[in-house]
Amino acid sequence: MSKNTKTVIVLLVIAVLIAAIPLFALKDAEFGGSDDAGSVMIEEIEGEYTPWFTPVLETALGGELPGEVESLIFCIQTGIGVGIIAFFMGRFTERRKWQKATGLENADDRKGKQ
């Protein structure tokens, strides 16, 4: 395993731990959004507060976006992102393999530079 691979694995494990530990450590917590905590704070300062504009989608739906659908859209967002990154990373990886195999390592993309 190369040094980079090791670093990446260690870093990813740390990241997962940071995210997972609170979930197990704080069993009673609700894990609501901190954006919502913000609106609670506004009410604390202002007293009752009615937002003066409701999200377009909520107006169109006549209510809140159902939780399951919300997670669907969040998944789509993640999916779009991961798709693009994975596509290009895949191409990069194959390109390097191919360059090594054909010994064209330095025939890099300067042509594109003009």
């Binding site: 940071i18 959004g33 901190s34 954006d35 704070m41 991961v82 990069f92 594109g112």
Partner: protein, 251 residues
């Protein structure tokens, strides 16, 4: 930059200055309808010059070399992924990261403002997360202020010869934290508390956002380093084209 673009940029800056109402301090997602209309408009106008500059800078980068498009797309996609991940934090609430650090390091802060606003519009329209009225304020905190700090820190670390991975980590970490600081200040400006005014209010909002965001900012730093390692390994020609890697640095 062509002449017309220069004029456009200058016009946007002047426009912003005229309307800036001197929001003395800079200020994540503020909920729809939670910011008074005047603030919504003001923050929107402050973002304009950055968006115009960003648009021009992206256009030029693509014009210089079409291959730059790959990394631009990847930086945008990175923001998409990272900002969609809601992660539980030590305070018992969830929050998400910004993901703007990568783009800021690779392309500079202006370019990221355009990538960031795309994500914010997506979330505001489809997810009722953030909002269209608060789009200006959210763009300023997530797509302008955060990336500016990330970019500044990265450059500073470069001058001080800090190890590149460490500087990438610091840039993304501090950029994320700063985004939430700016949000707190934005909310505080609109909702000064009765006792102590804006400052007291800012401390209250920071109290909500900061502890939640701290561990997440660490994760954001780590993920940004991971993707940079990946790019450094496999995308050397692309990184060279945008000037991120200089000649010999590559391997």
């Amino acid at each position: 930059m062509t002449k017309r673009e220069k004029i456009l940029l200058k016009a946007a800056i002047v426009f912003a200055l005229l309307f800036a109402i001197a929001p003395t301090v800079n200020a994540m997602h503020i909920m729809e309808g939670y910011l008074p209309a005047a603030y919504c408009v003001a923050w929107g106008i402050v973002c304009l010059p950055f968006l115009v500059a960003g648009f021009i800078s992206l256009k030029n980068k693509i014009k210089t070399n079409r291959r730059n498009l790959t990394l631009i797309a990847m930086s945008g996609a990175f923001i998409f992924v990272i900002s969609s991940l809601k992660i539980p934090s030590v305070t018992g609430s969830c929050s998400h990261m910004t993901g703007t650090g990568l783009g800021a390091i690779l392309f500079g802060p202006a370019a990221v403002s355009v990538l960031g606003i795309i994500v914010l519009i997506f979330q505001a329209v489809l997810l009722a997360h953030g909002g269209l009225t608060t789009l200006g304020a959210n763009t300023f905190s997530m797509a302008v202020a955060g990336p500016l700090v990330a970019f500044g820190i990265y450059k500073l670390c470069g001058k001080l010869n800090v190890n590149r991975r460490v500087s990438v980590f610091l840039a993304a970490f501090l950029g994320d934290i700063f985004t939430y600081c700016v949000t707190s200040v934005q909310l505080a400006l609109a909702y000064p508390s009765e006792v102590g005014g804006t400052a007291a209010s800012a401390v209250k909002f920071l109290g909500v956002f900061a502890p939640t965001q701290l561990p997440l900012a660490v994760i954001e730093g780590i993920l940004t380093v991971v993707i940079v390692i990946g790019l450094e390994t496999y995308a050397v020609p692309e990184l060279r084209n945008i000037g991120f890697l200089k000649g010999k640095e590559a391997e």
